[in-house]
């Protein structure tokens, strides 16, 4: 026996042994295995703040409103219809009849009120069963939630708020079983009971989450019998797992591997533009950066196409402003553009009196959700700026420390924003209004009175036809003011096996499984 055959037979014996002792089998015909970047943190909707948890809980819970699959258009959710009062202050929702939670209790107006009150009422009996990260942002403007009749609930606002229906489609305002909360208290984080198309079967921490089909689902039971989520932290391991078929669907594989995956007949690479934006915030109070011409010069100096081609391997599109084309009618095409133009950049710097260049510290996180390849991208930006005489010193930091630094308003710093709300307000107002100076997220202290006026008007104008021109004008002004170096809008890239059928991408990075089947 040659060493090679000896090794071969030894491995065969070992393999048989593993299988006999219960090693994994072939993928089941009616279940999908999704490889997540990390395991879900919590399954209590109002407490969820991370994308991995969101991708799982959105299969189990629903809100009064929902987004149409594939777009940000609001469609009925648990409420089958609603009326908004003329003054924009009162929303009356008609709930769907005969909807039950996974524990068999019925969905009622009481239950909706219970879920909102839990977060809003600090003196309430269930307030201490969790911490509610978004309550001020999303419910701060709510004056009251009243039960009109068992299937009618009325929400009154303190002031008109255009994105409110979008807020109701956000997971933090999803409706869950009040009975389950009473039963589990703080441990509700691992006992999710919603109304959604899937319900929790098992959660083995660190190993897997198994969701089972909800046969009683009001919208018709999904085709998949099970959805299994496994955490695979390392990108190379995710790549190996999708190529070998250990998992059916995953995301964030190394950009270098995409060409190979596109050639692999067993997998499909699905990609679409997203609403995410990646930028370098410039401090508009900095003695040099406060000059708009300097900020425009930095925009001309950076070769965004090269960054997207060579570092991101085509998984992004060039950004011309905060909003991406995903926003449809709200997106303004005709803004000032900053193509890569070294001469133009030098001319602008000279005009501003900085022909000899100047020095800046550039803060960069080592990693972070949505930050793409922060260090490599910073290195290219540094080299690009050096070519026009701007000497940039890169300082990298771990994410937690970085976030603290960022919110102190540094001179120049990378950031990305992946809005969870499909409304332009959640992008423009949150990042560029002077109401949002640090410690909020307008870290560059950008202030333009006209932009402020437009964004405030946009928040309170309910009529879409009147809102669109407000945001379009704001985008034109922001592009001219160049408060950021606009770099890119990352694409959403999902890789799945060909046996997965009917999968459709959603702009906010959700993985909707209702229409999906496997062969």
């Amino acid at each position: 026996m040659t060493p090679r055959t000896w090794l071969g037979s030894w491995l065969t014996v070992l393999g048989t042994l593993f299988l006999a002792l219960g090693a994994g089998a072939a993928p089941p015909p009616d279940a999908i295995v999704v490889g997540l970047l990390a395991e879900p943190v919590t399954m209590d909707p109002p407490q969820v703040t991370d994308l991995n948890s969101t991708r799982v809980i959105k299969r189990m819970f629903e809100g009064l409103t929902a987004q149409e699959l594939g777009s940000y258009t609001i469609v009925p959710g648990l409420a089958r219809s609603w009326d908004i009062s003329k003054d924009g202050l009162s929303y009356t929702f008609q709930l769907r009849p005969n909807v039950t939670f996974h524990d068999g209790t019925p969905l009622t107006a009481e239950a909706v009120k219970f879920c909102f009150d839990r977060q809003m009422n600090e003196q309430g009996p269930f307030y201490k069963t969790g911490t509610y990260p978004y309550v001020r942002g999303f419910l701060g403007n709510v004056a009251s939630v009243e039960v009109v009749n068992p299937l009618t609930v009325q929400i009154r606002l303190k002031a008109p708020l255009a994105p409110f229906l979008q807020y109701l489609a956000h997971h933090s305002l999803y409706v869950y079983s009040p009975e389950a909360l009473r039963k589990w208290g703080k441990d509700v984080v691992k006992h999710p009971v919603g109304t959604g198309p899937f319900k929790l079967e098992t959660w083995e921490p660190g190993v897997k989450v198994v969701l089972a089909r909800n046969d009683q689902y009001w919208g018709g039971a999904p085709r998949l019998k099970q959805a299994i989520y496994v955490p695979i932290i390392e990108a190379q391991a995710r790549l190996a797992a999708i190529r070998t078929g250990e998992i059916d669907l995953t995301m964030d594989v190394p950009p270098d591997s995409l060409d190979g995956l596109r050639r692999d007949p067993n997998v499909v690479v699905a990609e679409t533009n997203s609403s995410a934006v990646w930028y370098v915030a410039l401090n508009t109070r900095h003695p040099i950066l406060k000059d708009r011409r300097v900020r425009q010069a930095l925009n001309y100096a950076v070769n965004k196409e090269a960054i997207i081609r060579d570092i991101l391997r085509g998984t992004a599109i060039v950004s011309h402003g905060p909003m991406s084309p995903v926003y449809g009618a709200y997106y303004e095409e005709k803004t000032q553009r900053y193509p890569y133009d070294v001469e133009r950049a030098r001319a602008l710097l000279k005009e501003a009196g900085h022909a000899g260049g100047f020095d800046l510290t550039f803060f960069v996180p080592e990693s972070g959700s949505g930050m793409q390849s922060p260090v490599e991208m910073a290195t290219v930006i540094q080299a690009n700026l050096a070519a026009v005489g701007v000497r940039v010193k890169i300082q990298t930091m771990e994410w937690g420390a970085y976030l603290k630094k960022y919110l102190e308003g540094p001179d120049m710093a990378e950031m990305s924003w992946n809005p969870s709300i499909g409304d332009p307000d959640h992008m423009m107002y949150m990042l560029l209004s002077s109401d949002r100076f640090p410690p909020a997220f307008n870290a560059g202290f950008y202030q333009n009175p006209r932009v402020d006026e437009l964004l405030r008007a946009g928040r309170t104008t309910i009529d879409d036809a009147r809102r669109v021109p407000l945001y379009r004008e704001a985008q034109r002004l922001v592009a001219e003011d160049a408060p950021w170096i606009f770099v890119d809008h990352g694409k959403q890239v999902i890789v799945h096996r060909t046996r997965v059928q009917g999968f459709k991408l959603h702009p906010n990075f959700d993985l909707v499984l209702t229409p999906v089947s496997v062969q």
Binding site: L11, L17, F18, L19, A20, L21, G22, A23, G24, A25, P27, V33, A38, V41, T42, D44, T49, D50, G130, T131, Y132, P133, Y134, R136, G137, G140, K186, D187, V189, E204, P205, G206, V207, K208, I228, V230, P231, I232, I233, E234, Q236, A237, A240, A241, T244, E246, S369, W399, G400, A401, L403, K404, K405, M415, W417, I421, M430, P439, A440, F441
Partner: protein
Amino acid sequence: MARGGGGLGGYALRRLALVLPVLLGVSILVFGVMQLAPGDPAAIMLGAQATAEDVTRLRRDLGLDQPVAWQYLRWLGRVIQGDLGRSIPLGREVLPEVLLRFKATLILTGGALLVAVVLGVAAGILSATRQYTWLDKISMAVAVTGVSLPVFWTGIMLIIVFALGLRWFPSAGMLSPYGGGGLGDLLWHLVLPAVTLGTASAAVLARMTRSSVLEIIRQDYVRAARAKGVSERGVILRHVLRNAINPIVTVLGIQVGTLLGGAILTETVFSWPGLGSMMVRAIQARDYPLVQGGVLLIATTFVLVNLLVDMLYAVFDPRIRYE
């Protein structure tokens, strides 16, 4: 450790009594370091989309607005009552969480230790008994390489070769997502991470075993054993290894600590659901209660393993007495 009268039991008890002050020191140190690290659990948890009021309110709800010393004392008070608190982002109780993860880490460390001992001691003995032959040179060259390879690199290479290329082993996790779940499934998933984690320790053990065996093999009583006709195998196992083992056990004890530390990287590369990969996330999130709980558990284990090693000396060498 000392020679003379006294019982092993009394010695063990006195050593155990020292565990508490050690753990107290560790907890103060970790609490202090976590406070010094810039970053705020509330801000990290909420990310960009929350309002400043939400952050302030969350800090208050979590008690993070209290003075640091008070936060520590309040935590300590609860720990004394057996309550390690709740993780900040997870919302779950810390104790069951860390114990569950620790079980996975122990499985991995156990597997790695097995790899280290089998490969390391065998290579060390082979090298020593065939000193200066090509076998010796090759195994020591492999050992030097093994010590030098970073765990994450070895791990990714093993994934590329054995999971993606040859498809012999799974690329991540501790159990299959479907089917499986048995002991065989666990062992199948354990092979690559255990080899990754155990390689460096095997190399250290091989070098230690080699020098320790070489020292003993030249002793007169070994020559005497050979002279009276004991087989070479008997000489090595009964006379040489038995006497060479204490330094090996010492190194092994230290390696357990190294393995527990190295497990952090291995667990991350292979998504092994252990304490290490959980701690990385906890530290990134500034999840103070979870970090404290995890470190206490690791520190306790380390202290107990050291105690065990000290007591093993007497088992292997009856001349050693404790007082």
